[in-house]
């Protein structure tokens, strides 16, 4: 099971949906269909069993949808593997949903809320399965260099300076930051694959990546090479 879905909850932070609800001044109760889902899953006996079976069917269809979207990128996955991954994803998503049913506040439809568990479970399983026999590249396997000849002397120099500076700043990162940055940002290793290999969580690794990126930006800005294209309004 994907620990990310069952890890400790953020107890002190206010989520964006909560902020949005506060900002709009509107509190919307769950729709009737969603209320029915929650009520049936909270009951016992045959009615709950039927709801669980119905939910599992939805999760299995969702997991198959996700795996079908992803499998083409991974040539080492085959039919039996794929459906086995879909069943595992649906089973694990169902367990997470039952465990976290009290977290559902009705900010979205229940089925949307539930399907995201299956999407994440299936996505993680496909990526991990596809990488299970591959080595994780923690050293730069791809460092762009300036072409020779370049379109013009000025553009050539600008590209060379920026990439060279970035490379030097990467060398100034801590060992952990450099490993994570190189693997995820430069070598496109899926973050959940790396998290599994390093025995940590996706969230913890993203924090390392975030800190590395911030350090790189600061270093580039100190050189007069600030990158501003991605600023958020």
């Amino acid at each position: 099971m994907f620990a990310f879905l069952d890890g400790p909850r953020f107890s002190g932070s206010v989520t964006e949906s909560q902020r949005a609800a506060v900002a709009s001044g509107v509190t919307v109760p769950p729709d009737l269909v969603s209320q029915s889902w929650v009520a049936r899953l909270n009951r016992s006996g045959a009615e709950r069993d039927a709801a669980v079976a119905e939910l599992h069917g939805l999760l299995l269809r969702t997991a198959r949808f996700e795996i079908n979207r992803r499998w083409a990128a991974f040539s080492n996955l085959y039919g039996a593997d794929l459906d086995d991954l879909a069943w595992q994803s649906a089973d694990d998503a169902l367990m997470s949903i039952v465990r976290r049913l009290g977290d559902f506040r009705g900010d979205s439809q229940f089925t949307t809320w539930a399907c995201k568990f299956a999407i994440v479970e299936a996505g993680v399983k496909v990526r991990r399965h596809a990488w299970r026999t591959r080595e994780i590249p923690l050293a730069p396997a791809f460092w762009p260099v300036v072409a020779d000849p370049a379109p013009g002397p000025h553009q050539h120099a600008e590209a060379r300076d920026l990439l060279w500076a970035l490379r030097e700043e990467v060398d100034r990162l801590t060992g952990r930051q450099r490993e994570v940055f190189v693997a995820i940002a430069l070598n496109d290793v899926p973050i959940d694959v790396l998290a599994e290999r390093l025995n940590t969580t996706r969230g913890a690794l993203y924090k390392v990546l975030h800190d590395a990126r911030r350090k790189l930006r600061t270093g580039l800005e100190a050189r007069g090479l600030g990158i501003t294209m991605g600023e958020q309004s």
Partner: protein, 82 residues
């Protein structure tokens, strides 16, 4: 291994991709918590990114969460989840 980088503009695009979003962003866990709300806003033609900029920033910087977002959006657009 290296690859050619033809000009300064492309180099900045590459650097921007490597460096990720500049503004404040959610964590992966917080992103998961609001993913369903964000996607439903998108489907309702609301500007989810404007309402939830830290979520938008995280999706720009985290390819795994972006994959999850793309898939949930595609799922609902295909009539699943109902």
């Amino acid at each position: 291994m290296t690859a050619n980088m033809p000009d300064g503009a492309d180099a900045r695009v590459l650097a921007e991709r490597l460096l990720g979003p500049k503004g404040p962003e959610l964590t992966c866990e917080e992103c998961f918590d609001v993913l369903d709300v964000y996607v439903e806003r998108e489907l309702a033609d609301a500007d989810a990114g404007a309402a939830m900029p830290a979520m938008r920033a995280h999706l720009a910087g985290c390819s795994a969460c972006r994959d999850d977002y793309d898939s949930l959006l595609a799922l609902l657009r295909n009539g699943f989840g109902a």
